[in-house]
Symmetry: C2
Subunit: 463 residues, 2 copies
């Protein structure tokens, strides 16, 4: 638990003191009005059952539910409560937060009981959100928004806003439907507030305000949603009716999730791991990639085996195998990471992809030349000084290392871009599939170049 | 450029048609009111100079500046404009957006001229934001917020809101100062709208609303800001006065930046690369990590060199070196990635760190046993069938591979967690520093275990 807060760290003690005081409930409630839901949530999780009961009574169901939304382990807490209380809290939370908690309850019969007890409106919303697949906009949206009719007067619109604002706190954009109930546009609250009584509502409705569809894939539209920089964007069903909104808070969560996923995939983790999951589960999640790599690695071993005879005659060259392979691997990873980000962020044309691969090839070549030169120098010095080789022999071996390093890095740069672009083209997630293949191809290229050069130049000419 | 939009893709053509029409300017303006700034920005970047001029006249400076904020290459555009126009646009943009553009203008004399021409208020705001260092809250904040006095009546507060809302569009939270100008609290706009005329303003002010300090480091407080899920959080200077706010949009950007940085570091990139930067610059950015790895790799090569004699006598074991090293590397990367995320997200205690390292060790051990077993089997089969080894010899070599694989993976899991925790402890960025060291240590452990086992068991007992 991170216990830093943005409120000077005195809030926690103050809130605790208020809750533990002998003040009448109404006074406790009144004093807690001055604190942020999140800070109260922080205290809530440390309270004993009796104090919780007290807090629940003091805050009332609505505020308590708001506070409850901020708990990190809300699902666990809710399972320790009487079903009726739990259902009431869930019913008063934002429907997407309620779905998040319900999803974490493992016992499906408890889940169903809770949903049934939540009351018609809340349970309808929860069922609606749960009905969409996990990666879709519909599953991420909240049903907390203001919706008015487009034929109202400014005054009537304001009255509608005030009445709906009691239950919905996403008020900064007000959505508008036409007489058939279809999405019509959006009003910036600022414009409604500033409108005079004789202003025609139509004149402050933006009819081409962006919208999303319930079944859109989050990954595919998250960049676009970000681009609009709005506090909320409406979500329409197939009948063009608003069924929810995506808020900036949802976007923050989605961006975080997307990036964490890319990050995990780059490291060869099939899924992001949760904090306290069992060790065996973590081990199993990491296993698939490792098994694949083991078998691909066996292939590389087979290729190294071909060069057994060279190794027998010139065992010293084995020393530098790890160097050449590691460097090729590193360049490939860099290239892969850059390529993945570009593929995720943009739609790029075929020509741009070609140019991009060429760029990665050139970067590999530039760095290959620099590092190949350094290796040439360092290996020569090492062999002469520490291994007692003559300069000519040392330089030949070093040249072999330097040249194959350069070639391997150049190829790795290209492969690191080519493979993910290829997987993206055939609609396989490049972030997952590319890593193992790139490692293997780069290893093969490096091994063949290195031992191949050694076979040609060292065995025949030098020794 | 990503040209997908959330508005059914017809907006672009409609907007273009309106701009190119012969309608009077006022009518063009009126019709464009129906479209989102971002969609107009999309069209703007494809317009010729004459059409831009027309659009500028039609929209007026305020709306045009709003549209301009959405341009991807605003800095470039602004440098192609007459200085006076450019300054006027910048003055009408959110101050943090203006700073972003100004920061990208390379010629400092142009920059200074523009700031000087922006008018007192805007140039003061821009100078204020620029005065804070790049990674601080002060540099990220915007000065676009509503601030009222705490002794107003609800009606007077509403009047203030309406008048300030003309210039400021972050209205969903209204900030309150006391008579000395110090930060006093925040009002949820929803509560102000719902308040009756005789409500005391004090009763709807939340006095312990979270706040930030101008000089706080973004990385250190971003998790906390996320936790509050607010549309905006005020930023105070040392005198407890509000000088700006951080909006949810800023948080989205910051989360994106932070995660991209972690991602880049995991791949051994010193900085996130921009889309169209010169190849040489990209090459140089990737070079430092590679040079470091080259020299660390030389160390590993030196250690492999020690085992030259064994290699000469038993060249086949070289085949499986890459296998053992690659697998250890993969386990280390997985462990590193998981550790980095945990270190970034949470403050964890020393005891939790120990438990965590133990967990990574156990995961390495479990997967090491599984994969070691698989390798034992696969290598035996390979050597018997393809290399003509007798079963006893093949199994001995395979046992050597399997056992060292298991040990190397176990150690790599531990090292992958230990090294970043150590760097974090001594306040060195673990995401940057850990990679090279982990690779090297893992390589060394793997090489010594593998060839060491081979030396002990294979040379003396089998052959």
């Amino acid at each position: 638990m991170n216990n830093e807060k943005l409120t000077d760290n005195v809030s926690y003690d103050n809130i605790l003191e208020i809750i533990r005081s002998d003040l009448p409930l109404i006074e406790i409630r009144h004093r807690l009005d001055d604190f942020h839901d999140r800070d109260i949530a922080d205290v809530l999780q440390d309270l004993n059952d009796e104090e919780r009961e007290e807090l629940f009574k003091a805050l009332g169901i609505e505020r308590f539910s708001d506070v409850f939304s901020y708990l990190e382990d809300g699902a666990e807490e809710i399972q320790h409560m009487p079903l009726a209380d739990a259902a009431e809290i869930l019913a008063n939370m934002d429907s997407d937060d309620a779905v998040d908690i319900l999803d974490k309850i493992e016992d499906s019969s408890v889940r169903e009981k809770l949903v049934a007890m939540m009351g018609d409106k809340a349970s309808k919303n929860v069922k609606l959100i749960s009905s969409y697949e996990e990666d879709t906009i519909g599953n991420m949206m909240t049903t907390n928004y203001i919706l008015i009719q487009n034929d109202l007067s400014v005054k009537a619109a304001m009255r509608q806003l005030i009445s709906q604002a009691e239950d919905n706190d996403n008020v900064s954009t007000i959505y508008v439907k036409d007489k058939d109930g279809k999405y019509y546009g959006a009003i910036d609250l600022r414009n409604l507030i500033r409108a005079r009584e004789n202003t025609v509502l139509e004149s402050i409705i933006q009819c081409n305000y962006p919208f999303l569809r319930v079944d859109e894939n989050i990954t595919e539209c998250i960049e676009d949603i970000k681009d609009y920089s709005e506090d909320s964007i409406p979500v329409l069903n197939q009948k063009d009716e608003i069924v929810g909104v995506i808020t900036a808070q949802d976007v923050i969560e989605a961006v975080d999730d997307e990036m964490s996923e890319d990050y995990a995939k780059l490291a060869g983790l099939t899924a992001e791991e949760e904090d306290h999951q069992p060790i065996f589960k973590s081990a199993m999640q990491r296993l698939p990639w490792l098994i694949l790599l083991l078998f691909l690695g066996m292939g590389v071993s087979g290729v190294v085996g071909i060069f057994e005879k060279i190794v027998m005659k010139l065992a010293i060259i084995v020393s530098f195998q790890s160097l050449v392979l590691d460097m090729a691997g590193n360049v490939g990873t860099q290239s892969l990471a850059v390529t993945i980000r570009i593929l995720m962020d943009k739609d790029i044309s075929g020509k741009e992809k070609l140019l991009f691969m060429l760029k990665e090839l050139e970067i590999g070549a530039i760095n290959g030349l620099i590092l190949g030169g350094m290796a040439l120098f360092a290996v020569t010095v090492y062999l002469c000084l520490f291994k007692g080789y003559l300069f000519a022999a040392a330089a030949s071996i070093a040249a072999c290392v330097g040249i194959s390093l350069c070639i391997a890095m150049l190829v790795s740069g290209l492969i690191g871009a080519l493979i993910p672009i290829f997987f993206d083209k055939i609609h396989v997630d490049p972030a997952v599939a590319s890593g193992p293949l790139i490692t293997t191809i780069n290893d093969l290229v490096a091994v063949i170049t290195y031992y191949g050069l050694a076979a040609i130049f060292l065995l025949e000419h030098v020794f």
